[in-house]
């Protein structure tokens, strides 16, 4: 769609999957884009996510507020 914003992909951090700004032409191309992002997501889910989940359980049990 828009090549300019495609260039922003590397510079700006996002927690959402990074969809390519140009249209994906084949399943193979889609897979090449998807796999690295799925790995990053899984890694974050298991590290950042585990920290959040454990902290949440602990604070809820203690009856305290979870501050971001």
């Amino acid at each position: 769609m828009n090549q300019e914003s495609g260039n922003l992909q590397k510079k700006q951090k996002s927690h959402a999957p990074v969809l390519p700004q140009k249209e994906i032409q084949s399943d193979f191309e889609a897979l090449k884009l998807f796999v690295p992002q799925a790995i990053v997501y899984l890694a974050r889910h298991l590290t950042v996510g585990s920290y959040i989940r454990l902290r949440r359980i602990a604070l809820r049990r203690l009856g305290r507020i979870y501050y971001l």
Binding site: S5, Q12, L19, E23, Q25, L33, Q37, H45, Y67
Partner: protein, 320 residues
């Protein structure tokens, strides 16, 4: 199955240093029209947003059991849209072509379909109007599962329906492209440049409810939306008044039960339009804490199976 009434307490998740108010970004109280701006769900296009820390919490704190559904949804957003065929199907009878497109959408899993011309208020500030028409699709959720909201099961159902939404919009775009017309499916992935609810309202899919979600006769609010854009000449639908305002003005089912009390009982001015509005700053922390909440859409009387048509008939009859 009975509805889950054991809701987590509000105000558990809070900011130490509250970012800019999402209500301000959304234009609450503004009487002049302007296009919407991104506030939550950042993407490379939006850049980091003020509420990113909450988004990170929402995105990574979901239970491990939801991972397959999330990854499947993610994969659905990466599917190729296909090439535009060199040979174009000439549209001589718009009515017939529109019927053909709608039938195809229903065959691919849509529950409701509507078409409108793409207008300024359907887009965010950054979006460009490249296509002429927007096709709105509504996909129903499993009511039995959604009654347990907010929990991991209902959250998984939402992910799975969004995954189907993404597949449907891309498959429809592929189909129209195979007929030689440009089309773009908008998979559900964070913030879209095109606003699904205003498009669906103009496409006659339903009306905005007090809880800030769309209500249609067929499924109440128990469905999710997706959109496809195209240049194929189609016959547009008109917005339909099914009596939602008549019911919402008297009903307090969602506003009474909303744990963070984010739902207002009166309409408010938002970017030049007087409409139902949900307090972003109260809703989103609770939404993020409960993997997507959905309490309001499930307590809505319109969402009961078969209730929508009867409620609409009653509301419209009362006017006469």
């Amino acid at each position: 199955m009975k509805r889950n009434t054991d809701h987590p307490a509000p105000n558990f998740l809070q900011y130490h240093d509250y970012p800019v108010s999402g209500n301000k970004t959304n234009g609450l109280g503004e009487r002049e029209f302007r296009r919407a701006e991104y506030v939550f769900h950042s993407s490379p296009k939006t850049g980091p947003l003020a509420w990113d820390r909450l988004q990170r919490h929402f995105r990574y704190s979901i239970p491990l059991s939801l991972l397959p559904a999330v990854l499947s949804h993610m994969w659905a957003t990466f599917r190729p849209q296909g090439a535009v065929a060199a040979e174009r199907l000439e549209v001589t009878d718009r009515k017939q072509t529109t019927r053909m497109i709608k039938e195809k959408a229903l065959e691919l899993g849509a529950g409701v379909v509507g078409i409108c011309e793409l207008k300024d208020h359907h887009m965010t500030k950054a979006a460009k109007k490249v296509y002429k028409y927007a096709v709105s699709f509504g996909l129903p959720m499993n009511r039995e599962i959604m009654l347990s909201a907010p929990d991991a099961k209902s959250s998984k159902e939402v992910q799975q329906v969004y995954s189907r939404c993404s597949r449907l919009t891309v498959d429809m775009a592929r189909y129209i492209r195979s007929l030689g017309w440009p089309a773009l499916g908008l998979p559900i992935n964070g913030s879209s440049e095109f606003l699904h609810i205003p498009i669906a309202i103009d496409a006659g899919v339903g009306q905005l409810g007090k809880h800030g979600s769309l209500i249609c006769k067929e499924y109440g609010s128990n469905f999710r939306l997706t959109t496809m854009l195209t240049d194929m000449p189609l016959e547009v639908d008109s917005p339909e008044d099914i009596g939602v305002d008549d019911v919402c003005l008297k009903c307090r089912a969602c506003s009474n039960v909303c744990p963070p009390q984010a739902i207002s009982d009166s309409k408010q001015w938002v970017r030049g339009i007087e409409k139902w509005y949900v307090d972003f700053d109260r809703c989103v922390p609770y939404f993020s804490d409960t993997y997507g909440c959905s309490i309001c859409v499930e307590v809505c009387p319109w969402s009961g199976p078969g209730r929508g048509i009867k409620l609409s008939e009653k509301a419209l009859a009362r006017r006469q």
